[in-house]
Amino acid sequence: MNKLEDQRKIYEDMDIPEELEMKVRESIKRVNKKNSIRITQKVAVAVIAIFLFFAGMVNLNQNFAIAMSELPIVGAVVQVISYHFDTVENENVNANIEVPVITGLTDEGLASELNAKYYEESQELYDDFMADMEEIIEMGGHLGVDSGYVVKTDTDDLLSIGRYVVNTVGSSSTTFQYDTIDKEAGVLITLPSLFKDERYVERISEYLILTMKEEMRIEDNKVYWVREDDFYTFETINLNQSFYITSEGKLVISFDKYEVAPGYMGVLTFEIPTEVIEDLLVSARYIK
């Protein structure tokens, strides 16, 4: 009798959970999907023509009209109201998509551009969902998409809206995208626009890696992908990394689920102390 063969057999006889295959396929599908959405989102911003279609839709929607009529008219105050895109629901599939609609911005052009982008992305999400539905039902899995928004900051000068998409294919993944608007000037604030040059990428990344390592050292239940010996580690933020600005004027960097840490850590945000980036800022107008 060969003991090693016995051991091999015991090892190979280990119970394999039924859901393993589904989970593996779903994870692969999800990572692939994330990329395809990113690419189309860039294109979407340019397609302002969609807005005409959007305007028509919204006007026909009764809920939207009611919501509009209930808004107090107070000059140039920015209002964010939601427009319920569509809901599909049955046992294994559900979609719930809420689209933010910005009104009252002095710069009508910016508002309509953003609103058109939001609508276009929601439409895409919905189409994508419908396309996947049949396949998933066939596989016997669960498919869900839940999309909406949160107003992170709403001060006299700034409006930060975060739109999230929770994709549930077996287990869920979440992406967050923020838009921060200077209400007074009527401009969209991008991450590069806050800084003199691209040095901020390295500065912020270094700070984050140190912070993550320190948090892991202190707390056992925190894990970030910052092991030096691994093949996938968090090395740098993107030039246009997701971010928002708090009402106190602090920069907050956001990471999607699975971007820098295991799934159980969820969506992650890190407030960057202003002194870390102070010398690189264009001005102290937004970040204080």
Partner: protein, 156 residues
């Protein structure tokens, strides 16, 4: 290619994850987290020469990270190591069935990779980021603990 590899070898990957986490839920999480990491790394960097050992490095690192969360498992590992270091030369009356389970991960992983997943010693050294001699020593020790005597030459 990577996607196909992940689907085809999912059970082996699950078993490896489970041997660290000792529970189903965490093992499934490790499998999913590893897929996320691998597919992202694959897009970002040069393609790996040897897919299997490349992926096992990711998988095992993810599994180790996962056990960090569960202090109990980590402590258990340390106690086991201490125990084996102490009682090295004494006869250990293991039930063969649970012998592998009781083996500390540092030894078990190497035996699994070498004899159950048919990887070369040099590949295992690469996966675990250790030198070849360390891997050989640990493999020998692991087999000794299991009271397995090899007719074949494990050095290959």
């Amino acid at each position: 290619m990577l996607q196909q590899y992940l689907i085809e070898n999912r059970e082996a990957h699950y078993r490896m994850a489970f041997s660290y986490t000792k529970n189903k839920e965490d093992a499934l999480d490790v499998v999913q987290d590893s897929i996320e990491k691998a597919l992202r790394a694959y897009k970002r960097k040069d393609k790996p020469n040897h897919l299997k050992s490349w992926y096992y490095r990711i998988l095992i690192n993810t599994a180790i990270d996962c056990t960090r969360r569960n202090k109990r498992i980590v402590l258990m590992e340390q106690e086991k190591m201490a125990y084996f270091l102490e009682k090295e030369d004494q006869y250990m009356n293991f039930d063969l069935k649970t012998a592998m389970e009781k083996l500390p991960n540092a030894y078990k992983t190497i035996i699994v990779l070498r004899y159950f997943e048919d990887l070369k010693i040099s590949d295992i050294a690469e996966i675990l980021n250790e030198n070849v001699n360390t891997i050989k020593t640990r493999l020998y020790k692991g087999l000794k603990i299991l009271k397995i005597e090899l007719k074949e030459d494990y050095n290959e």
